[in-house]
Symmetry: C2
Subunit: 175 residues, 2 copies
DNA sequence: TTCAATGTAAAACGATCACTTTACATTGTC
DNA sequence: GACAATGTAAAGTGATCGTTTTACATTGAA
């Protein structure tokens, strides 16, 4: 595995498991199996490393959401949660830990949310033949966020509940 | 104002604004206008201070949710978000920053979520004359969490959207 | 075979971390 | 007027923070 990939994936799991601020450079270098000099050569700074981690996660996440129905969308989220664990949205967590004061991080968060939002809008347009409005899409988004958050303390089943609810809303809007 | 109250309220706003780990003791003592000796006399430790802050917030939050309809529940959340700001659920943020590894914090989070959950169950039972099931209540919970999370980057309007959705779900279950 | 690139190990940087201690001032109470 | 309680200011604890530096090994291409 490429050394930069190894760093970013080691960092992602440490950040996810222990939080961003609480994870020090020492633990990162140790987990990635490299010297701090090499880490800084590739990452530039800790904030930049966080941004890179989020950026990679964004790609991986949206690739999983490459579906064309609300049902499949929430199935994809359920898969993600079961495979990657349910510790909440890593983007919102990074944003919260840094108070929204780190531009690199705030921007990646905003870009990620914009990506999810446009994917949902696309699916809704597809499933309702354009009958679905902006409000329906936002309801689906809220269920999506809610499932992610609720899964932290109620487990992956919460995502299934959100799925049933979302599917019903779309059905009602299309009929 | 009582000195302990002052500490806890100063700590709450700093934690909310800048994150838990990123907020040091120096900043806390400065904002609360007291020496570190006094802080430790009252709080015991930083983790304990976090737990106390969350515990007080839990009381204040649930007091606001003393309503008897889903509509009023989300109106209360909307008020909260407009008054206190929308930086996400502080309990989940504390839990995430500490990786769930600090018992005092994990317990306060769990207690808070249990409180919200039973409040929602109570409202659903009330509004559906017992016709509403566990699944409906969980859908409302997910909308509640989703509104809180979505409001971070889409503002308080997301809560209004969640409200309309929740009210509709309850209506459909009661008719 | 030399040179630049890329890595390592480890020490050092000053700052800040959570937390404790020492020494002293102000109170209200018996 | 002695005493315990409760506060302050400020220095000191050792550990850890993010980051840089020094010194050296390995490697692949010119």
């Amino acid at each position: 595995m490429d050394i930069k990939t190894k760093l970013i994936s080691a960092a992602e799991s440490l950040f996810d498991r222990h939080g961003f601020t609480a994870t020090g450079i020492d633990r990162l270098t140790q987990a990635a199996g490299m010297s701090s000099r090499t880490l800084y050569k590739h990452a530039g700074s800790k904030h930049s490393l966080i941004a890179k981690v989020l950026s990679e996660r964004d790609k991986r996440f949206l690739r999983r959401l490459d579906v064309s129905s609300v049902d499949a969308l929430f199935k994809a989220l359920e898969d993600w949660v079961r495979v990657e664990g349910c510790r909440g949205c890593l983007f919102l967590r990074a944003y919260g830990e840094t108070g929204g004061d780190v531009p690199e991080i705030a921007e990646v968060m905003a870009a990620h949310k914009a990506g999810v939002w446009s994917k949902i809008q696309e699916i809704i347009a597809l499933e309702t033949n354009g009958r679905g409005n902006e409000q329906l899409a936002e309801q689906i988004l809220i269920l999506f966020e809610g499932a992610t958050a609720t899964a932290i303390y109620r487990g992956a089943d919460a995502v299934a509940t959100a799925r049933h609810c979302a599917v019903r809303l779309v059905k009602q809007a299309s009929s």
